[in-house]
């Protein structure tokens, strides 16, 4: 039993390493993550600045902590929105089938063919770069993914006898979906949410790297990497720590997805 949950708990552990400091940063950080002090720029990691300082003499540890708020919040919100909309649509398609299904799935396929970065660029052309743009682009890219997953699960479940029985007893469609089918489909949706979260984090980093995402002085991991790449040779820690934070969380969520999948079998 323990052996089986290893990926899950390792994943949770990795996420916690990064998430706990991020949560703490909501209340306090060792130094102000935005205020500059030009006298101490590019200090290597030390006992007072654990991760060193950046090009403006800001404490990197505080910035990685605070940057987590933005990066994790954008990813969570984007996946949440994608899950809510995609899940609802996919649920309907799967449960009612027929024409609904046909139409929605066509749309989903068309959207899936559209790489999310293309979508984001289109969004940038329309509304300009920024946090909201990135969030919207990642959320939209996630809608068809959740649609497919939910639909498949609902389609399968709606043929089971317990559903047919409930229908025969006169339970409303809403009630059946909410009380019977959804709980049984939840695990697959959660697996996808976990994997999507990892993808969203990488997408935020890539978009911020292109300068389309979060704008300064607000820190986000992707933004920090973009700024730090210029100084990588002089101050490798400015590139290393935000990158490690991203890698840890992505690794964590991928492992959680694996763990949930194994448990489901």
């Amino acid at each position: 039993m323990r052996q089986r949950n290893l990926p899950l708990w390792t994943g949770v552990f990795f996420i916690a390493i990064v998430a706990v400091p991020t949560i703490i940063s909501l209340f306090c950080t060792p130094f102000d993550p935005v205020v500059m002090d030009l006298d101490v720029r590019f200090q290597p990691p030390s006992s007072s600045n654990w991760f060193g300082t950046d090009q403006y003499g800001r404490d990197l540890f505080s910035r990685v902590m605070a940057g987590g708020q933005t990066s994790l919040a954008i990813s969570a919100a984007a996946v949440g929105i994608g899950m809510a909309i995609g899940g609802t649509l996919g649920g309907f398609a799967g449960y009612y089938g027929k024409r609904w299904d046909e139409l929605l799935m066509r749309l989903a396929e068309a959207f899936l063919a559209f790489p999310s970065i293309l979508l984001a660029l289109l969004a940038v052309t329309i509304v300009g770069p920024g946090k909201a743009t990135v969030l919207a682009a990642i959320a939209i890219a996630n809608i068809p993914v959740f649609m497919k997953i939910t639909r498949a699960s609902f389609l399968q479940q709606s043929k089971f006898e317990y559903v047919l029985a409930a229908q025969a007893l006169g339970a409303s469609d809403w009630r059946i979906m909410a009380r019977h089918i959804l709980p049984n489909s939840l695990r697959m949706i959660l697996v996808q949410a976990s994997a999507s979260f990892a993808g969203a984090l990488l997408a935020e980093a890539s978009l911020s790297y292109l300068g389309l995402g979060v704008q300064p002085p607000e820190p986000s991991w992707g933004r920090m990497l973009r700024e730090a790449q210029f100084y990588g040779g002089r101050a490798p820690w400015t590139v290393a720590f935000p990158g490690i934070a991203i890698a840890l969380v992505v690794l964590g969520f991928n492992l959680v997805a694996d763990g949930l999948r194994i448990k489901g079998k």
Partner: protein
């Protein structure tokens, strides 16, 4: 035959949909390209005449009809930013992106197929543990981070390969590698999974019990069976890459579709953005169609569905 006609019809419809959405998405803009052209040295008084020149003073619908008609006759219009025809711009950038995407997927397959088979055959071995751990790591690294790392190592420190730009085929090795690693990570898991699946099937066990050599069973039967899922996942990656090489093109200064699109989007070169999005979408749909055909070739059952 019916399948093909159906595909062509849905291809046309999807493309029209994409064109319409793109056009209106891009054209309902608050700020316009005329202003960007004038910059801080330009005279704001010139704005109106420039907008007229660019045809921006017409109604959106009129512009749409004109653009669509142009597209149908193969005329994509002129780029505002580069003051040249759009078609040759795209024609120059397309091979770079195409080559990059294909090499990346090819490289990913070259890495992942032997590794995945190795994992499946030697379950529980050091090889399996190591490659599964590495594949987790590979999936967790942002590809541009990897790209920067590769440039530093192979171009700057060792001087083996060009760091950036597109001067010869060698220019594509590092970017293709940066794109291939995360994908190889995913594919290794797929190969391993489908090989394990295949190996546990009855007919394989039968084949083995018949005394067929291990190698032959492995390659002829199991791999053939796994090929469908490998090909379909590789196909998904290929389509994603056709529009998803932007970041790596930026890191390596490669003159592909992605960089053109990024420049066009930031400069509000609307005709170019439209042309590029529609081209990418057409390309993706085309590749999807091609993959369907390959899959049907690999698995006859799919043909009658």
């Amino acid at each position: 035959m019916r399948y093909v006609t159906e595909k062509i019809v849905s291809f046309a419809i999807t493309l029209l949909l994409v064109s319409t959405v793109t056009f209106f998405g891009v054209n309902v803009l608050p700020s316009d390209p005329a202003m960007l052209i004038l910059g801080t040295e330009g005279d704001p008084e010139r704005l109106e005449s420039l907008r007229q020149e660019l045809g921006l003073d017409r109604h959106v619908l009129a512009r749409f009809v004109r653009w669509l008609r142009g597209m149908l006759s193969g005329d994509m219009g002129r780029s505002i930013r580069y003051s040249v025809e759009i078609a040759p711009l795209i024609r120059n950038a397309l091979p770079v992106t195409l080559l990059l995407a294909v090499s990346a997927v090819g490289l990913a397959l070259l890495i992942s197929i032997p590794l995945g088979i190795g994992c499946a055959v030697r379950q529980g071995s050091f090889l399996e543990t190591a490659s599964l751990l590495l594949s987790q790591l590979g999936m967790a690294l942002p590809s541009f981070w990897l790209g920067l790392l590769l440039i530093n190592l192979f171009a700057l420190r060792l001087g083996w390969l060009p760091p950036a730009g597109f001067t010869s085929g060698y220019s594509l090795i590092l970017p293709a590698l940066a794109l291939a690693v995360p994908r190889a990570a995913v594919l290794t898991r797929i190969v391993r999974g489908s090989m394990l699946d295949a190996l546990s099937q009855d007919y394989i066990r039968t084949a083995r019990s018949k005394g067929l050599p291990r190698q032959m069973v492995l390659y002829k039967h199991a791999l053939k069976n796994a090929a469908v899922s490998i090909a379909s996942v590789a196909g998904v990656h290929l389509t994603q890459l056709l529009g998803g090489t932007i970041v790596i093109e930026q890191v390596f200064s490669l003159p592909g579709l992605g960089q053109l699109l990024l420049a066009a989007a930031l400069q509000r070169d609307l005709p170019l953005v439209q042309g590029l999005v529609v081209t990418s979408a057409a390309l993706i749909l085309l590749v999807n169609f091609g993959i369907d055909l390959v899959l049907m070739g690999l698995d006859p059952r799919l043909r009658y569905e």
